[in-house]
Symmetry: C2
Subunit: 156 residues, 2 copies
DNA sequence: GGTGAAATTTTAGGTGC
DNA sequence: GCACCTAAAATTTCACC
């Protein structure tokens, strides 16, 4: 992966595509002050180099019947690499887990889980999370409101 | 916003577009078992009704020089609606904050902040967050690793 | 929901600055 | 490296069944 340092034009392109991933090339080129051809070249380069990881449709959680976001912090018993790997693999398999981070400090994980209701959450806990070996403790908090949720990184 | 309950075909479409928001209509139609026209009609309906909120490009945080994710929990002094609104508006303005949730319990907020380095984080704290009125306490944790990060909701 | 054709957009190539 | 132009290919879009 070549470390293409981004210039001002690349950044402008990224700012636009983060807000509208389906913007037409002509429109994008106009907004960043390029003609379509070099603009497309840059976009393709950003895609190939992995700067643009993917394009996605963002859904409304409530509109699809998944209004409940739950945050879980997890402490593992062991700090062995093996245990961490096992945990990561399980997380990757479970569609309810949208985000997971390994945190500083006492080897904690932090998860965002999305489910349709509290019953589904209980099922997730009982049938999946608590069946994992090596977990020392689990703490859950519930989101009352999503105040902000964006993919737009502060490139400015 | 009409509560269009989603049928199996809508869900299939959403599953696909969550993974690839730029999938061509012909491709999408084939994957869900429709011909392009009715498929496009459904996609447009999903867009108009707000089920599909937007299309975006997802960037690689590290590749754009923003490797640091910090999680902040905040307790407010007052629980007045006015204070909550003020807080929400400030959050919306700050590009470093990618996610913010109002949590159950002791009226806590939970934030995910993205910055290039710890200096930038310190600036964010000193020049923005700590200047807000009504904050009782702030706690920060750092992410060592992003184990999972997806927008794909569990529609299955 | 399907078919087919028109309109638009994307994409690649070539020239000169 | 970009602007400009051209043209082919792919995609989106729409009237109609």
């Amino acid at each position: 992966m070549p470390k293409t340092s981004l210039d001002a034009l690349d950044r402008k392109i990224l700012v636009q595509l983060q807000s509208d991933g389906r913007m037409s090339l002509a429109n994008l080129a106009a907004k960043v002050g390029l003609s379509p051809s070099p603009c497309l070249r840059r976009v393709r380069n950003l895609e190939r180099s992995g700067v643009i990881a993917r394009y996605v449709a963002v859904l409304d959680q409530r509109a699809v019947g998944l209004p409940v976001s739950i945050f879980i912090s997890i402490k593992l018993e062991k700090q062995k690499q093996e245990a961490l790997d096992k945990f990561a693999k399980a997380i990757a398999r479970w569609p309810e887990v949208l985000e997971c981070y390994l945190m500083t400090g006492p080897r904690d994980y932090w998860l965002r889980v999305v489910v349709p209701d509290l019953d589904a959450y209980e099922r997730f806990l009982k049938q999946k999370l608590t069946r994992l070996e090596g977990i020392a403790s689990i703490e859950s908090s519930f989101a009352l409101e999503q105040v902000k949720y964006t993919n737009v990184l502060p490139l400015g």
